[in-house]
């Protein structure tokens, strides 16, 4: 059994990392450039990001492969480099953390709409995810994280594609929910109950939510997940909703705020806590401090 799953089975709470994109931009990634192209051109940058989060206390480090499926890379004409791009991302993180942290292969949405409401056949999306997953697993990722999904059909295709590459690699799957007067739904209308049932059926080992509009809702979302599944839960919250102040983007939820709310997430039954947009290595430190309380 994978050490990752053993630790969760022993009810250890794991700390994931925080935002990747904003760090890459601060280090020189340009608007409009393919973030995953850095994996080949500047792996040192990925190592710096991984070091910052490892030092901050992350037990799980994500690879820079959110848009690393061939369907996404195709937008930049890089789909023929799917294997090398995903491999370089895993290797960059591994070179920093060795076995001190788990390397989590990030798999984001395909950017396509599935038939019948969209124009893409499910087989095309499945094959795309499978190609990326294969590259991540072959390169030694400890776990795969299918993340920021809004369409349950696509999320399940991704999970199934990963599972088709390996019968036992741990798979985490997260979806992004919005609050409505009728409860939490993804923009595609998926409920938390549906996510729990379908993602488990597809082969996910850990389910949960990422992105969103801040910790308050994430705590409610975590409780709702717990109602509908026995699987370990992962929550990676945004640091609130972005606001602009004097032309600059700010997020209101501070590392201290994260520290204060960690207990509530654990009470809700969450096993893996990390950050999404607007979070920094300092937020990860906050999560670590919150765990010690």
């Amino acid at each position: 059994m994978y050490r990752f799953l053993t630790q969760l089975a022993e009810r250890r709470v794991l700390v994931a990392d925080g935002a990747m994109g904003s760090l890459l931009f601060s280090m020189g990634l340009k608007q409009g450039d393919c973030p995953e192209a850095l994996n080949l051109s500047n792996p040192e940058m990925l190592q710096r990001v991984a070091s910052l989060y490892l030092e901050a206390g992350s037990d799980i480090l994500q690879t820079n492969t959110f848009g690393g499926s061939p369907l996404k890379l195709e937008e930049y004409g890089l789909d023929n480099q799917t294997e090398t791009i995903n491999r370089a991302a895993v290797e960059a993180v591994r070179s920093v953390c060795g076995q001190r942290a788990f390397v989590s292969g990030s798999v984001g949405p395909s950017g396509r709409m599935l038939q019948p409401y969209g124009d893409t056949e499910s087989g095309v999306v499945f094959d795309s995810f499978k190609r990326q997953a294969h590259a991540l697993i072959e390169s030694g990722a400890d776990v795969i994280c299918v993340e920021t999904m809004t369409d349950i059909q696509e999320a399940c295709l991704a999970v199934q594609a990963v599972r088709s590459c390996s019968a036992d690699i741990p798979i985490m799957a997260t979806m992004t929910f919005n609050e409505t007067p009728r409860g939490f739904f993804t923009i595609m209308g998926v409920t938390i109950e549906q996510a729990c049932v379908d993602l488990k059926k597809a082969g996910a080992d850990v389910v949960g939510s990422n992105c969103g509009n801040g910790l308050k809702n994430m705590i409610l979302i975590a409780y709702e997940f717990r109602r509908f599944t026995e699987l370990p839960l992962i929550i990676q919250s945004n640091a609130g909703l972005p606001r602009t102040v004097d032309g600059k983007i700010v997020y209101d939820e501070t590392p201290e705020y994260f520290e204060k709310n960690v207990r509530a997430l654990i009470d809700a039954g969450v096993s893996i806590i990390g950050g999404c947009c607007g979070t920094t290595p300092e937020h990860v430190r906050g999560i670590g401090l919150g765990l010690k309380v």
């Binding site: 931009f25 608007q31 409009g32 937008e75 950017g111 709409m113 019948p116 409401y117 969209g118 369409d151 409505t180 007067p181 009728r182 739904f185 993804t186 923009i187 595609m188 209308g189 909703l241 972005p242 606001r243 602009t244 032309g247 983007i249 947009c277």
Partner: protein
């Protein structure tokens, strides 16, 4: 007669894109005016879907299916609608700003606006400021709709607004903004003519700005 139009509206709402062409043809054969089929059938259905979407009773896939049905119905009607009767009530140039490749929200707004009777010039994603302004002039559009999902690309919106002012077009062209990180406050700060939180509200906003009631 009324039943035929209700059927068309209902089919559109359920996204029945395979049957709607037949229903529209049947309505035409029964002697109904193309314009009435458009307004009281197709557009009626689209506006119901729009309201349900705003209330979170239906979601993106339902809207996309309705739009597919709308297009299937329009294919039958279009050759028969001419001049004043086309149902077009204004032209909107729309796109995701430069540096941003996210287009789901923008596409949704396009669909809803098209459904509400606007002609849409969709410039796609990663669109430079001058392309928006040039397209608005070329197509005689009174509204430019800007979308951004990344906080880092939001400043591009300000550039488009500045360009509209520089070229002395601010009395002819209104610029509206939207997208997950965009807010009313941000829109005011950059001098946009309007902001909408979601696609349904975008339609209301565009109708107000285009003075269509």
């Amino acid at each position: 007669m009324k039943d035929l139009l209700t059927n068309i509206s209902d089919s559109l709402q359920t996204g029945d894109y395979e049957d709607i062409a037949g229903l529209v043809q049947k309505a035409l054969d029964s002697g109904l005016e193309p314009k009435s089929i458009l307004n009281d059938g197709l557009l009626h259905g689209m506006s119901v879907i729009g309201k349900q979407f705003a209330n979170h009773d239906v979601f993106l896939p339902d809207v996309l299916m309705a739009a597919k049905a709308m297009h299937a119905g329009l294919d039958v009607l279009k050759p028969l609608l001419s001049g004043e009767d086309t149902g077009i009530i204004g032209t909107v140039v729309i796109g995701t700003v430069k540096g941003d490749l996210h287009d789901i929200g923008k596409n949704l707004v396009s669909i809803m606006l098209h459904g509400a009777g606007f002609e849409i010039v969709d410039l796609g994603k990663d669109v430079p400021a001058e392309t928006f302004v040039d397209a608005a002039i070329k197509h005689n559009a009174s509204i430019i709709g800007l979308s951004a999902l990344l906080t880092t690309t939001m400043p591009e919106m300000k550039k488009v607004i500045a360009m509209v002012h520089e070229r002395g077009l601010s009395d002819k062209i209104r610029v509206i903004v939207g997208g997950a990180p965009v807010s009313e406050t941000f829109a005011t700060e950059i001098g946009a003519d309007g902001y909408a939180h979601d696609a349904a509200r975008a339609v209301t906003l565009v109708k107000q700005l285009a003075e269509v009631h």
